[in-house]
Amino acid sequence: MLERLSFRHGVHPPDSKGLTATIPIRRMPFPDQIILPLRQHAGNPAKPLVRPGDHVERCDKVAEADGFVSVPIHSSGAGTVKAIQRWPHPDGSLSEAVIIDLDKYSPQLPRPRMVPHWEGLTPEEVIRAVQEAGVVGLGGAAFPTHVKLSPPKDVKLEFLLVNGVECEPYLTTDHRLMAERPERVHLGIRIMMKTLGVERCVVGVEKNKPDAIEALRRTAPDDLDVTIQPLTVKYPQGAEKMLIKAVTGREVPAGKLPMHVGVVVQNVGSLSAIAEVFDTGFPLVERVVTVTGPGVLKPANLIIPVGTRLREVLDYCGGLTDDVNEIVFGGPMMGFSQPDLDAPIIKGTTGIVALTKAQAHPETVYPCIKCGRCLDACPVFLNPSLLGILAQAGRYEEMAEHDLMTCMLCGCCSYVCPSNIPLSQMFALGKTMLRKTREKQQEKTAADDGKAA
């Protein structure tokens, strides 16, 4: 039967996954120094617990969660805290980070289990343990996983949707995880389903990963209702709302969360991290990263200790070619260009893509010719052409009226624009400006209230 499950609109960039799709995951050696930014997740930055000069063991907590939407950070190696200072962050800023000189010749031995076995735990205890282990969504946004595991009481969940789409070109971390370690993914699904109290699970995988689909089907447990659902290849199918639309046909209303249509979405990387946390008893201190792109001499899928500097990862992969022009954390569609090779790998880093001059170069921007291709590409049905004109005029409030906040910056509009207009950057700008205005307004009302009182 011809199944053509997908969502409407979207684009078909060349998937370019061939460079690493068949390369098994292997471990990268420990670096001499790790840099652990305190802000690696959505929500409040963690609060440091260590001081310069302290010695920490591998997996020791170096920073604790600050509030509910926050997670602790653990040392990815045994060593001595050198400093807590500002350091280049993958988002381009200089942010506070704990810098640890790792012990030379340390075996970096596993330690006694820090996380309890999950079988005997109540859902609340599992959620607590997941937060304590510092688990965040490993699909890129780094949203704390325990928050997604704690839906409000009045929401009725129907099933767990597992995101194995990996629609960004070049990236193969989730692909390799599913193909090599399907049991881990299934264990993660089991823990999640029990914690959430849902009966059904659907795993969405794009059809360009037949080996992953086959591996997941082969190892699917008999006692759980788990469906592996192949999906037509299209970008941005890995976006939560697009995936829900593709698999269930349901649309998540603007401003609502997947749980409002009875679904919780988890990335396979996060599931496998949860399984690993409970299986090994270690917190999240390493992750799988695809190092790829035509600018890298030896592309690879690597398990990298969190905090390893970009420079060292590139060196380990044989270095860069001469014509490298841009290095991106994440995929080329939504990732962040890195201005600094000293930025560390953080929990949300899915891949490192080195693009050459032929792929990433400044292009002449021409005026909008109103061709409407961006409207046909936008997966959330916005009018990028109009929004772009408003952004250029600085009319940000009007952009909000045209639902700018629904935009997830997937980059489809910029990708199809024949005039090379950097639309999604304009929308990132619009969102930033709107947030600033809101903050100013709040400050003003707070000040006025203060005066009135």
């Binding site: 260009s337 090779l341 950057q425 700008l429």
Partner: protein
């Protein structure tokens, strides 16, 4: 046609016109509001740009304030001495003494002294570059030089120097606040010209970490804090902060031992001798030169 119809319509319309005319004449006399004719006259003397730099919403409210004696004519920063004199003559008052306020840039990190780590390709606007991670300038607090302020300035008072720092012409600057609002990094402040002490830096790093990203950054060495009058300068988050409420105590001694020239003694225009750093004849900045888009 019946001549009577013709006459009667003329009579009715004429009568109506007469009645309303009388009504208008009476009400105009009864309900008359007297307005000081000087307001209009003064308003005509003012520049009429409604920039708000005087502290009033526009030129008309300022004219009212002038006539009420609430503000001296010199409070308008757009007018030159001649125009201010005209207004003062008309009103028969002194021009008043208001020290001129201009926009000052709190950054001296031009391209040669504060190198870029990567080239930036994207929307040509400071705000857009800052929205995607600062665009790649080594110092994330420093001016990215993509012309948001020069575009925002209505008076042509800001010009982008070839080394990537905006230079304000105090003659043209009216302290209207537009550049202050346009700068996404909040690098512009409005400051009276007689505040000579100024820290041209917002970098929050200290020591070599600061000077690594910019040769003219404040490296938090605290020398100016010690050399200045007690309490005038304090160190806040690794940055020397001048307490402008105590500015009367300003003294050139404070800047003498600054190792990076981050704090300077300013007379007249900023960057009057050119922005820091020698021109490198358009050689692209950036050591490793990664692209950002």
């Amino acid at each position: 046609m019946d001549p009577l119809t013709l006459l009667s319509s003329v009579a009715i319309l004429g009568g109506l016109g007469l009645t309303f005319g009388v009504l208008i004449a009476v009400s105009s006399a009864k309900l008359k509001v007297w307005e000081d004719p000087r307001i209009d006259a003064v308003n005509n003397l003012l520049p009429g740009v409604n920039c708000g730099a005087c502290g009033y919403v526009g030129c008309l409210p300022f004219a009212e304030a002038l006539i009420a004696g609430d503000a001296p004519p010199a409070q308008c920063t757009v007018m030159g001495p001649d125009e201010t004199g005209d207004v003062a003559d008309y009103l028969g008052v002194e021009t008043g003494q208001v020290s001129q306020v201009v926009a000052r840039l709190l950054c001296a990190g031009s391209a040669p002294v504060a190198p870029w780590k990567a080239d930036y390709f994207g929307v040509e606007s400071c705000a857009a570059a800052v929205a995607v991670g600062g665009g790649g300038k080594g110092c994330p607090w420093g001016c990215v030089g993509l012309d948001d302020c020069t575009v925002a300035c209505d008076f042509d008072a800001i010009e982008m120097s070839p080394l990537g720092l905006p230079v304000v012409d105090p003659e043209k600057c009216t302290a209207c606040n537009d550049c202050v609002e346009a700068c996404p990094l909040d690098l512009f402040v409005l400051m009276p010209m007689d505040h000579h002490l100024i820290v041209q830096c917002k970098n929050l790093l200290d020591g070599e970490a600061a000077t690594d990203v910019c040769a003219v950054a404040c490296n938090a060495c605290r020398r100016c804090v010690q050399d200045a009058e007690e309490g005038l300068i304090s160190m806040q988050s690794n940055l020397a902060v001048i307490d402008y409420d105590n500015i009367a105590a300003q003294n050139e001694k404070a800047v003498e031992r600054c190792p990076t020239n981050a704090i300077i003694w300013l007379e007249g225009a900023q960057f009057a001798e050119g922005v820091p750093g020698k021109s490198t004849d358009g050689a692209p900045p950036g050591a490793e030169s990664l692209a950002m888009s």
